[in-house]
């Protein structure tokens, strides 16, 4: 070990790049499916029939109160014994969607709860349908109220995808570990990988901030 020297690990830039793309792709897929789970789940918790409400609550509680790593292992190592063998990337996408979905349900449900009854009633009194009330009256103000919580959850998700390396999904951290095993430059490798995560998250936060400014133009206090 002679000082901080990146030149050796930059040899593997293609691996890092592909790791970054995998991490980004994994995050996007999970964001997409997890958000769908979150929206449908929150609507189910709020307006669904009793059994659906109980089932969804059980799901949320189990997922939020157990280690994500174990959930990932269950999907990857245990499902194959039921003849369901998944490649690491697929297993990670599924496990993380289930995980993110549970948090998304909680956040979105809180968003729906944050809309006063009087707003919903004002919509109903205009003689528009329940769906139209949801779409035009509830949706945007609820989204604004949960925006900070929801976007931080996404940041946690992006950082958390690194545990997919534990089942050999070839995302950024896995690639970093691989390069480290080849070069023994642990300090450089992990600092470098950290910096990449940091840059990714900063870009993401910039996008979220800009998105918030575009989406939520109305005065904050009514």
């Amino acid at each position: 070990m002679t000082g901080f020297n990146l030149s050796q690990i930059l040899h593997y830039q293609d691996l890092f790049l592909s790791g970054v793309l995998m991490t980004a792709l994994l995050s996007c897929i999970v964001m997409f499916f997890g958000s769908i789970i979150g929206i449908l789940g929150a609507v189910g918790v709020r307006w669904g029939p009793r059994p659906v409400q109980y089932a969804l609550r059980a799901y949320v509680e189990v997922i939020r109160n157990t280690p994500g790593l174990i959930q990932l292992f269950i999907v990857f190592f245990v499902l194959p014994s039921f003849e369901l063998r998944l490649p690491p990337f697929h297993a990670a996408a599924i496990a993380f969607s289930i995980y993110f979905g549970a948090y998304a349900i909680e956040i979105i449900r809180a968003g729906l709860d944050s809309i006063p009854r009087s707003q919903i009633e004002a919509g109903q009194c205009l003689g528009i349908t329940r769906w139209e009330v949801f779409r035009h009256v509830i949706c945007m103000p609820a989204l604004r109220n949960i925006y900070p919580a929801f976007t931080s959850q996404i940041v946690l998700l992006v950082l958390g995808t690194s545990i997919a390396s534990q089942i050999s999904a070839e995302e950024l951290f896995y690639m970093g570990s691989f390069v480290e095993s080849r070069t023994y430059r642990s300090f450089e490798v992990y600092t470098f990988v950290c910096a990449i995560y940091l840059v990714m998250v900063l870009i993401l936060k910039t996008v979220f901030a800009a998105g918030g400014r575009i989406l939520f133009r109305w005065p904050a206090h009514d």
């Binding site: 109903q124 009194c125 005065p219």
Partner: protein, 244 residues
């Protein structure tokens, strides 16, 4: 045919009976003012009229059609009656134009292309055409309430319900809203106004109703009723409001 028939309506919240057999018939063109003490069931009655609250017994008919029925028909009925709340309840994320034209567009009353024109027309009636591109949060309380009225007017309602439309306003903003309501009254719109503004009730309504303990306690032409209250309850209510 009567516009609205309320027959022997009872409504309880748990063990608390709030409406104890209310009967009331409203003819087209009438301006009904409802006054009464806090807790006498005025808001509940209005909420029952457009089925925001269900009723335990009795019947409410709007142009002969029962109000309690399947969602689709209830929606059609609600499109024909407007309600203005004490707290305005505008949609904060939508500009004034969209607040006013949301329901007309969604229900097919007006095309998207003609929506702005409709908004301008009803906003002009409440004196706020220049605020068409503002958000509710950028308006004063009085202006917000006038937009809420315009939002109802855009649906060309056959009946307007007002639940203490001016109670949440600063005193200097009450007048502008009352003037808009008076103007609507002159245009033969049928209205039911729950109000604490006694002078307004006296001057604008064609019939005054005093609600007490969940019942229509006294009713009649406002001047007559104020001059000769038939019951001690109404007499003391008038005295109490004069002191305030």
């Amino acid at each position: 045919m009567a516009l609205l028939e309320i027959a022997n309506v009872r409504k309880s919240f748990g063990s608390l009976e709030v409406l104890k057999g209310v009967s009331l018939t409203v003819e087209p063109g009438e301006i009904i003012a409802i006054v009464g003490r806090s807790g006498s069931g005025k808001s509940t009655l209005l909420r029952c009229i457009n089925a925001l609250e269900g009723i335990n017994s009795g019947e409410i008919r709007f142009r002969g059609e029962p109000v309690r029925q399947n969602m689709k028909n209830l929606r059609l009925l609600r499109q024909r009656m407007g309600i203005v709340f004490q707290s305005f309840n505008l949609f904060p994320h939508l500009k004034v134009e969209r607040n006013v034209t949301l329901a007309p567009v969604l229900t097919g009353k007006v095309s998207k292309a003609d929506a702005r024109e409709l908004a301008l027309e009803v906003l002009t009636r409440v004196g706020l055409s220049e605020k068409i591109d503002a958000f509710p949060g950028q308006l004063s309380g009085g202006q917000q309430q006038r937009v809420a009225i315009a939002r109802c007017l855009a649906m060309s309602p056959e009946l307007m319900l007002f639940d203490e439309a001016t109670s949440a306003l600063d005193p200097e903003l009450v007048g502008e809203v009352l003037r808009v309501i008076e103007d609507m009254a002159r245009n033969d719109l049928t209205m039911i106004l729950v109000t604490h503004e006694m002078n307004f009730a006296r001057n604008v309504s064609t019939r005054l109703i005093f609600m007490n303990e969940g019942m229509v306690w006294e009713q009649g032409p406002p001047a007559e009723l104020f001059a000769n209250p038939k019951t001690e309850e109404f007499a003391s209510f008038i005295r109490a409001t004069k002191q305030a």
